[in-house]
Symmetry: C2
Subunit: 429 residues, 2 copies
Amino acid sequence: MAVQTVASNTTSPVDLGPAAALSCRECGERFGLGPIFACASCFGPLEVAYDLPGDDPEALKKRIEAGPNNIWRYAPLLPVPADVADKPNINPGFTKLVKADNLARELGVTGGLFIKDDSGNPTHSFKDRVVAIAVEAARAFGFTTLSCSSTGNLAGAVGAAAARAGFRSCVFIPHDLEQGKVVMAAVYGGELVGIEGNYDDVNRFCSELIGDPLGEGWGFVNVNLRPYYGEGSKTLAYEICEQLGWRLPDQIVVPIASGSQLTKIDKGLQELIKLGLVEDKPYKIFGAQAEGCSPVSTAFKAGHEVVRPQKPNTIAKSLAIGNPADGPYVLDIARRTGGAVDDVNDEQIVDAIKLLARTEGIFAETAGGVTVGVTKKLIEQGLLDPALTTVVLNTGDGLKTLDAVAPTTGPSATIRPSLEAFRDAGLAG
Amino acid sequence: MAVQTVASNTTSPVDLGPAAALSCRECGERFGLGPIFACASCFGPLEVAYDLPGDDPEALKKRIEAGPNNIWRYAPLLPVPADVADKPNINPGFTKLVKADNLARELGVTGGLFIKDDSGNPTHSFKDRVVAIAVEAARAFGFTTLSCSSTGNLAGAVGAAAARAGFRSCVFIPHDLEQGKVVMAAVYGGELVGIEGNYDDVNRFCSELIGDPLGEGWGFVNVNLRPYYGEGSKTLAYEICEQLGWRLPDQIVVPIASGSQLTKIDKGLQELIKLGLVEDKPYKIFGAQAEGCSPVSTAFKAGHEVVRPQKPNTIAKSLAIGNPADGPYVLDIARRTGGAVDDVNDEQIVDAIKLLARTEGIFAETAGGVTVGVTKKLIEQGLLDPALTTVVLNTGDGLKTLDAVAPTTGPSATIRPSLEAFRDAGLAG
């Protein structure tokens, strides 16, 4: 039997903790927990609905704080079984929230500036969070192979998580990826298949495979496990608030690829308010794109409610989704919270990577250059208030996108090994 | 005035917490805390001597456990001021101790196998630990420039730490390093100087610079700050024991470059015993080298007490120190604890990197391939007891040594985007 692609309205006996059902984000219809991702009635996207814990907020905080130093401390708020921390998983999360005082001075932020640095995850991107949740869903549904389509970060995250959790993995990539990314995707020993075509061709192929008997028993983390996978991004919101001392930030700057991460951060913040873990007060969510792939930013600035697809052309490849599935939801959240969506060009991205490295010693991947660059731009435009507490996401590691900075980053001087040569170079300082 | 290279016997008013003095490892003579690294009497290496806290062990454990999720939780045992966590630093440490059950099965370890995975540090190697301590010493001594000689990992760690802590940095590297390492060293915005020559030439140049007025105000983390710097490696021992539930491991496998890390891990374990934080019981320390740079392993197997220098030729470049300063101390510790020192060749290193990736989803740099490979070899030789609790160090990240695995790591297949082509590839599983 092929994997279901739309829901039948059945209930399921799987134990995914507080996850109660899947519900359609468009029409609200509910479905039993299963490997499904589109509403049987309206084909809208499905998301996880919860029976959240009824604990007293202080007791719940204590329970969380006593948990492990990874995302499983939030197990009561995630679609995972209560004993998740005992299962083999790569245990991402609880990455550093860095108080960026040097960067704040450069940008003129006086209300407190923080970098949520997800380069500290096991495979050095936020993808470890979403994959870790998908692994537990795959376990619950009895899948034996983990799969995805990817251009880099996700392939490594799936490969690593599958290896540790005891799944077979088979990951699909465009055949002409850079060698570094291919090595990272292949080193964990799963199957890696190069597809002759671009990323869209890879995606189309994966959709075919899900509907075919060949794909039986396969959990595609970003397709048939997507409702669970996406919930991993909520943990960014949880961690930021806990690390701020159970306070909401006033402003948060999030990169936009599909837009899912931004919507889930909003969902996470709303849950914390509902549970009484943080004060119910306004916050603003800002979205950041690269100019070379800015469909959501373009729509935001034009006042549109729909997002017109673009053909990506930017060094920020991990954000290069020209037709972002969650674009309209992002527009809605940015407008509803009083935020904005903006973009920066490749040169500004590189400058921002270097600015963050030079001020805070954090080497971000291009997506981090996008968020820092957009933060700078939003401040200059008066859209982001420098007197408010602001959190900027860095979702990946500069080691993964060395090519972006390599052409303009090198030695100050090359000299003979002599004091005279060093004196002549004028670097004694 | 040039920086002192040998100690005068004066006391210093600097506040480095429990650090009471520097003491000579050879003759035991004590010196005041200062930027000195060789004994004025016998030219032996200096190390930090402490007034360790007299707390009740349970109270001290609680104090540590209530500290931050980084090495500063152990501030009472390190040469840093008590308020160190409030100062700008990159705050490394408290990296994952991964229970490696899959790898244990492959290697036949039944007593519990753990990987201490230091790729989770801010710049993805254990060097962040030692540099973080050196930064606090540099602050205490009033230095304004941080420096080092490096072939890669250390340059990045110094660049990042200096940027965040507000120091100027000037780092020296051989002029012909791989571009990736140059980018990593330069991106933090400090001065990076390529020296026309090999690593030995770079080191010789740095020694000259320390003795010259040009180097005034410069803290060379691995030269005139070395006694403090080295202490950072003790935190590996502290974390391993705390993460094991305040228990000593039975066996621990440590890579050997200069040998300093291994000696400091032993020092850390001894301190925990002395403080009553762990039970006083025997443990064995094993050293791991690459065959292409195995001076300590060679001496161990020959029964020598001195280490004969070698010219390195191995893919494990971060361990390629042909004349390891702490070699004789390593030999002594391995023999005294009942451990051993062994080596693996480049092919075994690559195999071990892949073995760890495939079983635990951890992508180690070549130094991690050395420790895992040597662990396997020691078990096969009956020198490491598989029935005992064993901790293996991975000190860096595979992203930094992609070249080691790239030639033998790639896609299983490259196909057209069709189900038929996929079926023909035989990967449906």
